[in-house]
Every structure is written in structure tokens, then in C-alpha cells.
Symmetry: C2
Subunit: 500 residues, 2 copies
């Protein structure tokens, strides 16, 4: 066997370990009985230790060095080598003791964050957050970077992402979206939501609606599952076994439905991965920004469109005959698109959502650069919410303590949510170019052409290209906020009759 | 670290791999979407390859040799070494190519057995069965044995089991049970089953009855689960995560309830394993015979007792108010104890069940000894059913093709079912000695003393002793059919007013 073949055999081994770990984690979130937690942690620790041992084997380093100077490789082979190098460097550049220290701190910090949030007392989380930030800075230094420390962290969640790429995207958004929100707020018209708020929404009917819409979009339930969990997510070991979850509240039905469409988007991406590259890095989904583009596409670009509301209205009426009596597609459409600045990121509408992300991005950037320190965080948070959204959290639980990410050391993660929104808009604009009857298709529940376009231009390309290059190949343009701004401006104008 | 400590570290590693494999297998049976099967097989193959590599490491052989000549070890340490030796020898004595050949043949043979059974054509399975028998003979030769080849196979499912031990158990049973069955058949009285057969039994109500009875017995649902599967089983990775399944038929409720009590018995055993010996061989359950004693105890000895019927009757009435109207404890007790020779082992009552096993035992013994060959099997089967049960299968699907075991190469497994029945009776007789108000406790739904007795005398002892020695320690007598014969004779006399 040549070095490339030997590398693939090893990568298959590592991939299988990862598949097994995914199933253990899914089970832990969805089904596992409570007392099983400590031994499940041992099983998962065994999995990550074993995967780490195999990945950091110096043989991989030698194969990679040999292959990196080989000029006879094709695009896929080169991409596998690039991606394997990325994983190998990430695994070998951090000293073992530092990795253990971070892991231990993560567990501790998750506990103090939970307590701080419950008791609405930032001081309980303060010290652990300070350490988490220090860990993130050190980690960036171990990985290395060209310009900014923060770049090394951004790169973890989307390969090739930098502040230099993100700054113009966010400023383009801010310049256009902030005035739009202000115009809606000043306008003061709120759609009629009484039919929504005054009814109770049966869980079984919500489950049926979610299931039928997910099936209609094209999620293959013979290669996946829908389950219930406290924190909705999409997981599972491989494209033949994709498992997404949702949760239900009987006082409102949108959370479960749009949550289900969101996870269905992630799920169709996983199911659409290129099967010739099973067990290879190029066969994997391409980073968090692209992943989020697929979830946001179905949740927002399709799910909150006027056409989708027209198609889904009869389903709504079948599932909730009493509640939906007299409700028309226009009313449904207005209700699912309510624009209203609020404190909580996960509850935000399409217009305000990215401003929540922008605040976190600016804060992380300054934190990692050492321009602000942990004690200044609560004030910085309040000032930015005032500036961007014109509101102020009455307490820290609804403010700086609302997200789990920092307690898990996930700094550099938030921007991928906004990237997802921008990519979704840019991809749909491109798809429309190839699908002239897109609106008519959505109106009649024909989703296969849109899904087919994503399969061909996104899913099937796996991780052969870096994310930004994939967007360029699929849409003909580098990532930009323009399509999203066009989309949002037109939608807000139709909904509220206002423009910025 | 000394050799013993090094051995324990390695055994923990192997145990964790086994735990992970258990979860993958449970998921495969219970939840996995159909298209996931091929990649799940790859994951499971990875698990068994990895476990095999770790177990066959020659270091284990060296540690064992060193420790086997050490006189300063305590009972638990000696048992760990004995059990590790057993696993090590089993893993190292079979040539790798032979293991692969068997595994491949198992998959093939499962397919031909399924087809043969569906088409009721023994010839479709005939060649694969012949190979499976040849494999079993070879396997026994690789393992080695003192007296009979078949002993090496029996030992796989219950350590220390031999034909010399089994023959007197089975002959004791045959001499006493066969005449008892004949007396019942001749007597001709059949209890009134119309209330059972004329009603439909709602699945949700069956689930509730199963759940409440399993909880009452003492299965801890915060350390386990109940689910639905085609083939009921008890699995899961460890004592904190024990998962049993059942299945439901709406035309009769006993299958799901007694199936649930059976699996609850297995489950309480797993939950009761000694936690000081987590990850060690001595902390495991003690072979299939003892395991089956715990399932049969709750399913039959307790579940089909007059006292249990009295206690559970109000639950039956709550779950099935219409169906159970006018049904009393006596009627319920008679119905759950119907004695009737039938063709199918898994549907057999307590009296006839062991005769089904005896037939398979006699056939396996002769097959492995080369006294009969595969082409003589169908006739041998029919003759024995005629002799022992007085009935003849109208076709091979209801005869020689009914069980999956031989297609999986599991020769030597069947006898543990009967051992379970005998051990259950012997254990309960001993427990009664310590629990003078046993019947009263069952009548009032107080199961904790009986479960406590099993915890102390069986579950907590893990695999410190060989199974037969454990029975002797717990009951004061070597394994024998006497307690079971006494139990059955008295029950049949009370039910049918007959004796042998």
C-alpha cells in the first residue's frame, strides 16, 4: 500500500470511532436513563482517548509530509490531505495536560454557569469565564495564526474564517438591517396574533405536522429518526442514520415546527453527503456555516415564505381544525414573520437575529485581543444591546448569561450562525436562477428541485473545497451579505410596508 | 503496578469496549433506521476486532501465568484470574481464519434458515446446518475437553457445565414430568379461557400493566428502560443502564406481561451486580443458567403463583375494566397456568417447556458426538416429539426449523433454559426457608424481601463462584431437579387435581 492508501485506512478507523461516539452522545441526550451518566462519561472518554491516540500517531505525520510534496494527486486526494493535516495539527499542537485541563474546566464551568444563570448572579460564573477566556487565548497560541489570535478560534468552526473576512459581512449587515428594524419598530404595526396566543396546541398534532413537513421536504426516515429532547439538535453516526430532535410547547406551535424544519435542513445535508467518500474527511459536511445555511434555508427562506404558508395551510388545518378555523395564509405568514427586538437570541426573528450574533462577535473579538476583560463584560453587553437593538436586559440571566457556548469554551462559534443566514440567502438566490418556477413549486409543495439543487451544489461536494470556495463555486460570488439584505428588505417591505 | 493491577487496567479497557458494543446492539434491535444496517455492521465489526486485539495481547498471557502461581491472592482475585484465563484461552485458541469463517457462515446460515422456515423446506437449510455442526465440532476440538466434545460447547454458556452434570438433571425431570403431563392430558379438563380469547387487549393498557408490575418487582427505571422490539431481550451496557424490551399482541395479554416479568428478572439481576467490581470479570452476571433462573423466578415461580394473581388482579381490572369484569383470581391463575402439549417451545407452559429443551439437548449431544447426522435430524425430531410430548409437527417450520439457535452456531445453549427453571425452583425453596411469610408478601405485593434475598445470595456474588458452586452456596445443595419437580407436582395437583 502507498502512503495515501495507508492514510485512508487509518482515517477510516478514526471515522468509525467517531461514528460510534456520535451514537453514544445521541443516546445520552435523548434516551439514556439518568443514573447511567457517570459510566456513559467513561465510555465517551474511552472513545475520545482512543480516537486521539490513533490520530496523533506519528505515522500520520510522516504520511502527510510525504504526500504534501506529491504533485500527482487529484482534487479529492489533495483535499483529504489538507483536512487530515488540519485534524492532525489540531490534535498534536495542544499538550496533553492542557487538553485535560480544558476538559476538566469545561465540566466545572458548565456547572457554575448553570448556577449563575439560575440565581441570576454573574459573580458565580465570573472566575470560570475568566479562565475559559484565558484557555481560549492559549489555545489560539498553540494552534498559531497569521493576523489575529481570534482567527485561530474562528478557523475551528469554519475552515479559513478570519476577522478580515467577517468584519465586512457584519458591517454590511449592520448598515442595512439596523435601520430596517428601526423602521418596523417606529411603524408600530403588529400583526394579529390572537388566534395563535389564545389557543392551546396539542403535542400529538404538532408531532404530526412536523413529521409530515419533514417528509415533504425530503428527509428520508428510513435513514434517520425524529425524537424528543430538551435541546433540539441533529446528530447520528452517518448519512444512513441521521437523527434529529425537537421539543414541544403546548402554548405555541412555531417552536416545534420551525425547529423541526431547521433540523430537517441539517438532516438532509447529512443524508446528502457524497457516498463515494464514506469514512474520508472530504465526505464530511463542510463546517458549521454551511451546515447552518441548510437549516436556515428550510426554516426561514422556505419555511417563512408566503408560498410555503399557502402550501402548508391545509396541513395546519388538518392537524388543528379548531384552532385554525378562519385563519388564512396571509395571517399565518404574518405571524411566522413577526419582527420584534427581544432579549433572547434563540427566540429572535430573522431581522434581529444577526444583531444578537454581531454583539457576541464584537465581544469575543475584543476579549481574545485583550481589549476588554471579564469584569467589563456585563456593561459591554448592555451597551451593545442598547445600541443595536434599543433594549436592555433587566437581569444577567436574560443578558450575558443566556448562552451556554462560553461555558463550554466555544469561543468563535457564534459567527457561524450568521454565516448560515447569509449563505442560505446567497444559495437560494443562485438556485432561483436555475429554478425559474421556484415560488410556484414551493406553493404546490414540490421541494425536490430545490433539494436537488442543494444536493448537487452543496451536499455532494462534501468538504472538497473550503467553505468560502464552495459558496463561490455554487453561487458564482464570494460570500457577502448582499443577498440576505435584499431578501430581508423586500420581505419587511411586503410585511410592514416600510423600508430603511 | 503489579501484574494484577496491570491486568485489571487492561480488563477495564476491554469491558468498556463491551459496554459500547452492547449499546450499539441494543440500538440496532430497537431503534435503528433500516438503511443504517450496513454501517452499523461496520461499527460492530470494529468493536469486536478492537476487543479481540486487546484480549489476545500476549501480555495478558504473561500476567496470567505469573498470577496463576501466586499463592497470596484472595477469593475475588483468584476468580478474576480464572475468568480472564477462560476468556483469554477462548480468544487465543481459535485461529483467526476459523473465527472469520464461522462469522461469515453465521450470516449466510441465518439467511438460509429464514428462507427454509418461510418456505417450509428443510433442504434449503440442510447444507448450512451441516457446516454449522462441523464448525461446532472443530471449535470444541480447538478449545479442548476432558470427556466429551459437547462439554466444550456447554461450557461456553455455563462455566463448568458437562453432559455428566446434565444427564441426571434431565433424566430426573423426564421420569417425573412426563407422567404428570400425561395425567393432565388424560384428565382432559381445560380451564375456562373464554374471557381471555373473546376479548381484544389494548396495547396501551398492556404497556401500563407491564410497567407497573415491573416497577413493583423493583426494576429501577432511573437506571434502565423498557422498549418495544420484535424479539424481546434484556441488554444495555452496565448496571446503571439496563434496557429490556417486550412486544404486544392485541389478541392476548399474557405474552407481553410474562415477557415483561421475564425480562424484568434479567434486568434486576443486571442492576444488582456487585458495584465494587465494576469493569472486572467477577462483577459480571454468572452465565446463562443463573441469568435464566432470575427471569424464570419472576415470570413463573412468582408471576404464575396463586398469590401473585390475587395481588395483581386489581391492576388487571384497572387496566382492562371491561375485559376483566367478573373474572376472579382463581380464573386468572388457571388461565396463566394452562398445561397443554404444543409444538412451539417459546409458547410452552412450565410443565412441557423442559421436554422441548430435553429433545434439543439429546439431539445436540448425538450430533456433536457424530451419532446422528444432519439428514437424520427431521426424523429424529419427530420421533422424540412423539415420545416425549405425544405430538407430531405437521411441517418442518413448526418442527426442526422453529429455533434460530443452530443457524447462529449456538449449539450447547438450549440446556441453560432448563437449568434456569431448575435453579429458580431451588433458589425459591431456599429463599422460603429465610422468608416464612413469602406467600403473604406476594399476596400483598411486597416483593422487596424476595428481591433482597436474590440480591444478597445471587446478584451480589457476581461471578466469584462457578454457577454450580453459587447454587450450592445459596441453597445448601448441588443443582438438582428435585425442587422443580416438587413445585410442579404440587401446582398441577392443585390446578388439575391429578398426580403422576
Amino acid at each position: 500500500m502507498g502512503a495515501y492508501e495507508e492514510l485512508l485506512v487509518r482515517l477510516k478507523d478514526i471515522d468509525l470511532i467517531g461514528q460510534i461516539g456520535s451514537l453514544l452522545s445521541w443516546d445520552q441526550e435523548v434516551l439514556m436513563p439518568p443514573k447511567a451518566a457517570p459510566l456513559r462519561a467513561e465510555q465517551l472518554a474511552w472513545i475520545s482517548k482512543t480516537a486521539h491516540q490513533r490520530l496523533t500517531d506519528s505515522k500520520i505525520g510522516s504520511w502527510l509530509e510525504m504526500l504534501e510534496s506529491d504533485d500527482d494527486l487529484n482534487e479529492v486526494q489533495r483535499a483529504n490531505i489538507r483536512l487530515a493535516r488540519e485534524s492532525y495539527d489540531r490534535a498534536t499542537r495542544l499538550p496533553t495536560e492542557f487538553v485535560e485541563e480544558m476538559a476538566k474546566h469545561r465540566s466545572k464551568s458548565l456547572v457554575s454557569w448553570t448556577e449563575a444563570r439560575e440565581k441570576d448572579d454573574f459573580s458565580i460564573f465570573r472566575d470560570d469565564l475568566a479562565i475559559a477566556i484565558e484557555h481560549a487565548r492559549k489555545r489560539a497560541d498553540f494552534y498559531g495564526y497569521e493576523n489575529l489570535r481570534y482567527d485561530a478560534l474562528l478557523d475551528l468552526y469554519e475552515s479559513g474564517l478570519t476577522v478580515q473576512r467577517l468584519d465586512p459581512l457584519f458591517s454590511g449587515l449592520r448598515d442595512n438591517v439596523a435601520p430596517l428594524i428601526k423602521a418596523v419598530v417606529d411603524n408600530g404595526n403588529r400583526p394579529d396574533m390572537s388566534w395563535l396566543e389564545e389557543n392551546s396546541w396539542d403535542q400529538t398534532a404538532q408531532e404530526e405536522l412536523s413529521q409530515r413537513i419533514s417528509e415533504a421536504i425530503g428527509f428520508d426516515f428510513s435513514a434517520g429518526r425524529r425524537d424528543l429532547s430538551t435541546h433540539p439538535f441533529c446528530g447520528g453516526p452517518n448519512p444512513d442514520d441521521v437523527r434529529w430532535t425537537t421539543r414541544y410547547r403546548e402554548d405555541e406551535p412555531f417552536g416545534s415546527l420551525f425547529g423541526s424544519m431547521h433540523e430537517t435542513g441539517h438532516g438532509t445535508y447529512e443524508q446528502g453527503r457524497p457516498r463515494d467518500f464514506d469514512f474520508q474527511p472530504v465526505g464530511k459536511a463542510n463546517g458549521l456555516g454551511i451546515h447552518e445555511s441548510q437549516s436556515r434555508l428550510w426554516e426561514n427562506q422556505v419555511g417563512r415564505s408566503r408560498e410555503f404558508c399557502e402550501w402548508s395551510l391545509p396541513l395546519w388545518k388538518q392537524c388543528f381544525p379548531d384552532n385554525m378555523e378562519g385563519v388564512g395564509a396571509e395571517q399565518l405568514w404574518q405571524a411566522v414573520n413577526l419582527v420584534e427586538p427581544g432579549l433572547i437570541r434563540v427566540d429572535a426573528d430573522e431581522a434581529t437575529y444577526n444583531l444578537h450574533i454581531m454583539i457576541r462577535y464584537e465581544i469575543e473579538k475584543q476579549l481574545i485581543a485583550g481589549e476588554i476583560e471579564v469584569d467589563e463584560l456585563p456593561d459591554a453587553w448592555d451597551e451593545m444591546y442598547q445600541e443595536y437593538l434599543g433594549i436592555k436586559a433587566p437581569n444577567h440571566s436574560l443578558g450575558i448569561l443566556q448562552d451556554i457556548h462560553w461555558s463550554m469554551g466555544a469561543i468563535g462559534y457564534f459567527p457561524t450562525y450568521t454565516l448560515g443566514n447569509l449563505y442560505a440567502a446567497q444559495l437560494l438566490e443562485a438556485a432561483r436562477g436555475d429554478l425559474p418556477d421556484h415560488d410556484g413549486q414551493i406553493r404546490s409543495g414540490q421541494f425536490e428541485d430545490l433539494l436537488g439543487w442543494m444536493r448537487e451544489n452543496v451536499h455532494n461536494r462534501g468538504s472538497v473545497l473550503k467553505p468560502a470556495d464552495l459558496i463561490k463555486e455554487a453561487t458564482g460570488a464570494v460570500p457577502s451579505p448582499d443577498a440576505f439584505v435584499r431578501y430581508l428588505t423586500s420581505k419587511v417591505e411586503r410585511l410592514y410596508g416600510v423600508s430603511a
